[in-house]
């Protein structure tokens, strides 16, 4: 238990203009679950890329010892051969292939020149048993939920006789059940002798599972803490991560809400003709001026579908029901209609459908409201830069200039760009779908502060979130969604995590 399986010593890695890692040391002992935490941009991913050979030997300085031997990985194939497997946030499975094809992809079992499918299926079944996933190995990966896909990915890693399993934010997209299941599995694998490194932003889960925690900040190792000696707590981790103590994760809000209803949805039903299923059933809720309403629920419960169906229905659902904005019945046929009616929707998937990554900060911020800065259809680029710079300063977007491509920004700053884009539209109702997913504690706090400022100014916010503490910390009221239905409404003062989970699973 005490022998180190991995030692990374004095790792330094430079990017043009930035020192991504400076003199980082990282030691993982055999048979433990080691959590690596730090704010976005602290260097966690870079460190793992050095380890896996994405940045080949010679591209960095320092030594890597794996199982006591100095390693010079030139590629991912090298590190895999040594027994290191990394599972990234964005899953690397082929959706159209079956589970067993995916598990053995890249190291197929062969008989002569052809693939031995029977052996493949047998091996895949063994691996699925190891990750305790009871599914038909012939099903296509695209038909599985995210949680199960994650397990298939782990099964794939295990089939390669992995000794060190590295998971990069594995629970970011999982609901609580899948999350528990995954953490449970990691413990189980630890007992079987697999060492894991877990990169996570969710400190609660880090505290639950970690044997050891290493904190990185600004490309440096800050400390390594031993959980068994009681060195790990949320306060301590946050302190080390941000270098200052955050006493209150959720900033206090001053203003009070009025009773004026700005958005009123009644008997809202939606049917998805593409998937051939009902996505929303008899949904009724309202939103008052200057209030934050939280929508809690499990992944896939229909919260995003609800948001999109209100926001001009871009997915083409067949909708029945009534939508009133400030007591006027409206029929919104496109996102443009919705924006004109005063609704804005910041999507849960920033990179996928929220931002245009190859465009710069200013172009993303102004995209939804170009007419504001144009005359007779001609964009005033100088006014655009001015506007974008104002938002950059107001929301503290960390970028050298508003002409920087959004792809180069960290997750938290991308999220701020996404928020800025919708603030520029000046909506009455702002729908934020998972506004803090995958972003670090400091940036989260900033997003919360912005939200508070907005509602104090009279905007109304719908916040969809899978993080219960966030829903509880930020909302005035909470609706709980389950299987396309609203299964409960709770004022925050009465709500507890247990009550919400109960309604969300009902």
């Amino acid at each position: 238990m005490n022998t180190p399986i991995l030692e990374m010593k004095n790792i330094t890695k430079d990017f043009p203009g930035v020192k991504a890692l400076s003199d980082v040391s990282f030691e993982v002992r055999s048979g433990e679950i080691h959590c690596l935490v730090g704010e976005n941009g602290a260097g966690k991913s870079t460190l793992m890329k050095v380890l896996s050979g994405v940045y080949p030997y010679g591209d960095y300085s320092g030594d890597i010892l794996f199982e006591g031997k100095t390693q010079k990985f030139k590629s991912i194939a090298d590190s895999e051969r040594a027994g290191i497997a990394i599972i990234y946030q964005e899953l690397a499975l082929v959706p159209e292939l079956s589970v067993y094809e995916n598990i053995l992809l890249g190291h197929e079992i062969k008989r002569g020149p052809s693939v031995n499918w029977n052996e493949t299926i047998k091996k895949a079944n063994e691996m699925l048993k190891k990750v305790r996933l009871d599914i038909n190995p012939a099903s296509k990966v695209k038909d599985l939920g995210v949680g199960r896909q994650q397990l298939v990915e782990i099964a794939k890693a295990l089939s390669k006789d992995v000794k060190l399993l590295i998971l990069d934010e594995p629970t970011a997209a999982l609901n609580e059940d899948d999350c528990d299941n995954l953490l449970d599995l990691l413990r189980h694998l630890r007992d079987e002798g697999v060492t894991s490194v877990l990169i996570s932003h969710k400190l609660k889960e880090v505290i639950r599972i970690a044997d050891t925690v290493t904190v990185l900040r600004d490309g440096k190792t800050i400390c390594t803490l031993d959980a068994k000696r009681g060195e790990v707590s949320e306060q301590i981790l946050i302190k080390h991560m941000v270098g200052r103590e955050i006493n209150n994760i959720y900033p206090e809000r001053k203003g009070r809400k009025s009773d004026e209803v700005v958005l009123d949805v009644r008997d809202w039903n939606a049917y998805d003709p593409k998937l051939g299923r009902v996505v929303l059933k008899d949904v009724t809720f309202n939103l008052k001026k200057g209030e934050i309403v939280g929508f809690a629920g499990l992944m896939g419960s229909g919260r995003t579908e609800l948001a999109k169906s209100i926001f001009g229905n871009p997915d083409g659902y067949e909708i029945r029901g009534e939508l009133r904005i400030k007591d006027q019945v409206v029929h919104l046929r496109s996102p443009k209609d919705a924006i004109d009616a005063g609704i804005a929707y910041a999507t849960e998937d920033r990179k996928g459908n929220g931002l245009i990554l190859i465009q710069d900060v200013k172009q993303n911020i102004t995209l939804a409201n170009l007419h504001q800065i144009s005359r007779r259809g001609v964009v005033d680029v100088n006014a655009e830069v001015k506007t974008a710079t104002e938002y950059k300063e107001a929301l503290n977007i960390k970028t050298p200039s508003v002409e920087q491509q959004v792809v180069n920004l960290s997750g938290g700053n991308q999220q701020k760009v996404s928020v800025a884009k919708w603030l520029f539209v000046d909506p009455d109702v702002l729908i934020l779908d998972e506004p803090t997913r995958g972003i670090d504690v400091g940036a989260k706090f900033e997003i919360y502060t912005i939200m508070n400022r907005l509602v104090e100014q009279g905007m109304s916010i719908i916040m969809i979130s899978s993080e219960l503490s966030e829903v509880l910390g930020m909302s005035d009221r909470i609706y709980i969604v389950s299987s396309g239905r609203i299964t409960g409404e709770l004022p925050t003062v009465e709500a507890t995590q247990e009550k919400i989970m109960q309604l969300a699973t009902s």
């Binding site: 926001f311 001009g312 871009p314 496109s334 996102p335 443009k336 919705a338 924006i339 004109d340 929707y345 999507t347 996928g352 459908n353 929220g354 931002l355 245009i356 990554l357 190859i358 465009q359 172009q363 995209l367 939804a368 170009l370 007419h371 144009s374 259809g377 001609v378 964009v379 680029v381 100088n382 830069v385 001015k386 491509q405 792809v407 180069n408 884009k421």
Partner: protein, 395 residues
């Protein structure tokens, strides 16, 4: 300013300037190999007239590729529309002033027709436009089947592809003999307009307190561009002056470049190309943008058909063959990205010039046609490799 600053500026903008540099190098090589014939006024005028119909198509194709589509139908569509123009003029004895707008409108309609299954049903544009390719090929054969090649005698129509803008002084007048005076004057206006608009843009930036390049750099840029514009003017004025084809080509490039860079519509086009889902969720109608871009492509296809038929003074059963691939190659050489959202209208003009310079230069040298194809293919490959690798460096 030091040489170092220049090098730095060059490195940072290598993607923007790379194609210009490539064009200059290619022209220099051919000038050397042909002992100056390539750069002669007569040949340059000829080269630009050859480039016209491909450049016009490349402008449209660049927009189509930016929104992640492709249009294979444009080659035979341009041939077909050229033949329609011929039929209207010759068989139906219609006025050229009716024929031209009618053909252009037909082009827009054809473009919208291609867009219909693409935008409404999500049919891949490759397939939809491949169907168009077959249909227009057949249509072209049908129109020309009874008569074969249709010769167009109309003076106005043939002037589009062969004529030059008139001059206000005879060419042999004692003042600057042998030079086209109106062309010189227009060139002078272009230089003045360029300098004034650059200075205005700089002033406007300064008024907002934005950073501007150092003034010596700015002056250097102005001087450099003045020399380039001056040289082009001088060379063109040495033959018959500006041809109508060049005028049309320049107007098309300037107008579409302005639309792409400065207008809301242009922004929407780049947004749809960069991330169609995000664009839709930002209130942009992807369908509308798709229709608009294919409509513009259709318009430019008609224009290209007119230019080509006019240049040949006839419509032939093979008119437009391979234009679609030539203009796609020009667009890619000009730096458009197949991944969508990236590309410049001016780039497509430069791409077309590079592509046609190769053809023209190799024809002058009497290079075997088989070798010509190989070299054109190699240049296309090199251009795209250059584009992809320089993009990686920027990240």
């Amino acid at each position: 300013m030091t040489i170092k600053d220049l090098q730095k500026a060059l490195r940072q903008n290598i993607r923007d300037y790379g194609m210009y540099i490539a064009l200059i190098i290619i022209m220099a090589i051919f000038t050397f190999l042909t002992k100056g014939i390539f750069i002669s006024s007569r040949n340059i005028a000829n080269l630009l007239n050859q480039t016209g119909y491909i450049a016009v198509l490349a402008v449209g194709m660049t927009l189509v590729i930016i929104i992640r589509h492709i249009d294979l139908s444009v080659g035979f569509l341009s041939g077909f529309l050229g033949a329609i123009a011929a039929v209207m003029l010759v068989n139906w004895h219609m006025s050229v002033w009716v024929t031209l707008p009618a053909v252009l409108v037909l082009g827009i309609l054809a473009g919208l027709l291609t867009a219909l299954p693409v935008a409404k049903l999500g049919i891949p544009s490759f397939v939809a436009s491949l169907a168009g390719w077959l249909i227009y090929r057949g249509a072209l054969l049908m129109v020309t089947s009874s008569t074969g090649t249709i010769v167009i005698p109309d003076k106005v129509f043939t002037a589009i592809g062969n004529g030059y803008i008139p001059d206000f002084m005879p060419a042999d007048s004692p003042f600057l003999p042998g030079l086209h005076k109106l062309t010189l004057l227009l060139g002078l206006f272009a230089i003045i307009w360029f300098i004034i608009s650059e200075i205005n843009a700089r002033k406007s930036k300064q008024a907002y307190n934005f950073e501007v390049p150092p003034s010596d750099m700015f002056v250097l840029k102005l001087i450099f561009m003045t020399i380039i514009l001056g040289l082009i003017t001088w060379v063109l004025a040495g033959y018959n002056g500006l041809s109508w084809t060049v005028v049309i080509m320049l107007v098309v490039v300037l107008v579409f470049d302005y639309i792409a860079k400065q207008t809301v519509v242009g922004r929407h086009i780049y947004a749809v190309g960069g991330n169609p889902e995000a664009a839709e969720l930002s209130g942009i109608s992807v369908k509308k943008v798709t229709f608009m871009v294919f409509g513009a492509m259709g318009f430019l296809t008609a224009l290209s058909g007119i230019l080509f038929a006019s240049r040949l003074q006839s419509a032939t059963p093979t008119g437009g063959t391979l234009f679609e691939l030539d203009c796609i190659a020009a667009a890619y050489i000009g730096g458009v990205s197949a991944a969508g959202g990236v590309g410049k209208i001016t780039g497509s003009l430069i791409g077309a010039l590079v592509y046609m310079s190769l053809m023209n230069g190799m024809n002058l040298l009497g290079t075997d046609i088989s070798l010509q194809y190989v070299i054109r293919g190699a240049v296309l490959a090199v251009a795209v490799i250059f584009d992809v690798t320089t993009r990686k460096v920027r990240r």
